[in-house]
Amino acid sequence: MDYVEELKKDFRYIEGLNACINCGVCTAICPAAEVSEYDPRQIVDTVQHADNDEIEMLLKGDTIWYCGECLSCKTRCPRGNTPCYIIQSLRSLSIETGLFIESIQGRKQLALKRTIGEHMLKYGYCVYIDEIDTEMFPEQGPVWEWLRDNREQILTRLGASYRQEKSGALRKIPEESMKALQSIFDVTGATERFKKIEELSEKKAREMKISFNSGKDDYFRHLYEGHND
């Protein structure tokens, strides 16, 4: 596959890449570069070289998944590039081509699909109190534990509309809106992308001999907890 041709179909690649002078300003301010083996300057440079094999290495590798999408690089690049947009187009292409399962970080897209992805279609929110426990999110701490354990009482005191069919915080989102969301996901490719993530992940899990089912199965735990990192 001609990856550059594919990338050129993505407006984010067109927007994101003008002419990189390899100055490294993006890397200097990048929060991801600070904590991981990640260098946006190098990624922009690689993409600019338009070498198909090198781009394939990116699509199969961990690096493109280290960006935090803070977009600090958009403000600072002296040439008006946006490394983050280039990353976004590479990430999409990595999923579209199925190459995401070749890297530890890419494989983790399944864990994200199984949490925020599924929560959006179940609750209409990307996160919802019923799903956030201190085993998954230990940093939530004792106050969250208290709030969650006593949620009916406390949320009522605070005027929230928890699970109720009226406006307000944490309300139950009406059926009509939930249907609209599902239908938009179906029409615009999100449902298909979810299916692809599941199917290819299943294949990979079998190859790795890790049990694969749905929800928080062994393969999910392996990715979410980072057993192989």
């Binding site: 407006f11 935090g68 803070c70 999409s92 209409g124 106050v143 534990e145 406390i154 944490l170």
Partner: protein, 355 residues
Amino acid sequence: MRYSRNEVWETYQKEIADNNFYFARSCIRQNVLPAAEDLFLKIIGTDLGKNIYDDARQTTCTGIAYHSGIIPFETTMTVVAHLFALMNEAGYENYACSCVTSFGIYSEVLETWKHFPEKEKEAREALKKATGKTFEIPKNLVHASDLIYKFRKEIANRSKYRLTDTTSGLPLKVVDHIGCHYAKIFPEKGIGGAEFPYVLAGLIDEWGGQQVDYPERRHCCGFGFRQYLLKSNRGYSVANSKKKFESMKPYKPDLIIANCPGCSFFLDRWQYVIAEMENTTYGENGYGIPVLTYEELAGLLLGYDPWDIGLQTHQVAVEPILDKLGINYNPDMKYKGAGNSNTDSPEQPSSIKMF
């Protein structure tokens, strides 16, 4: 000619409508600060007498999923189009959102449609096919903190308290943290631009406090979307927050204020985690530095009871800032449920004081 920083800020202004807003909630805020948005609605609606509509039909904007790389841009822009359609149906033209990620997403979608009109056409067709709906683009798009900024003088006029340390009479030292997606993507969409955002600093100035200008002031809190959401990548998040705490520590801030749901959450929770892991606290006497949102701070100054506006849901205790502001509060009411029912108090962490 040399200009002061505040003068530089004033060159970046944006249009903020005066009344009649469709309010869009934040998924994260409804969970972790479940009273904050209702407080915002009370301040704008009841205290300032503006018309603001809280629609039960709204949904996630999908921004967190988009920035985590699990859904296509086309899905996000169509969900945004749907939210605009809901705004139109409710009879509004001004869109005010509570989430900075959403604000970035709306701005991104609108800019994309400007530069690539075929994407707007695509969104219109997808929305029609999925829901049968059409939509008009909002006349005015603002973040909730823009409204508090716009009405900061009116809030000051109604306030019972100022940002003054009542024990020393000195201005309180306040760190402002602006969510990256507020102005780093499109500097012209934020008050003060990306380098010197004034949306929260303006509140500090107007309400009598002193800004803290520390080296890592503009550094990201470390959300990183997929990086925080995966336990195995979460070190990214705490490491970046820690970099900020270490950088602000020598200035001894009394308070941190933030305008982004994720940021206010991380700057609160990571202080707890760092204390538990390394026995380091950044506030005084074993406390952390309290973290408030723009409306929580406005609410306190206006005289709302701290426990009615949900400040007991913060992990870092807010009592040190209440004491400095001279606010009377009843500690016995902190952990009450509905109808003053009793709940067991949360467990006290080992290394950071909570009450």
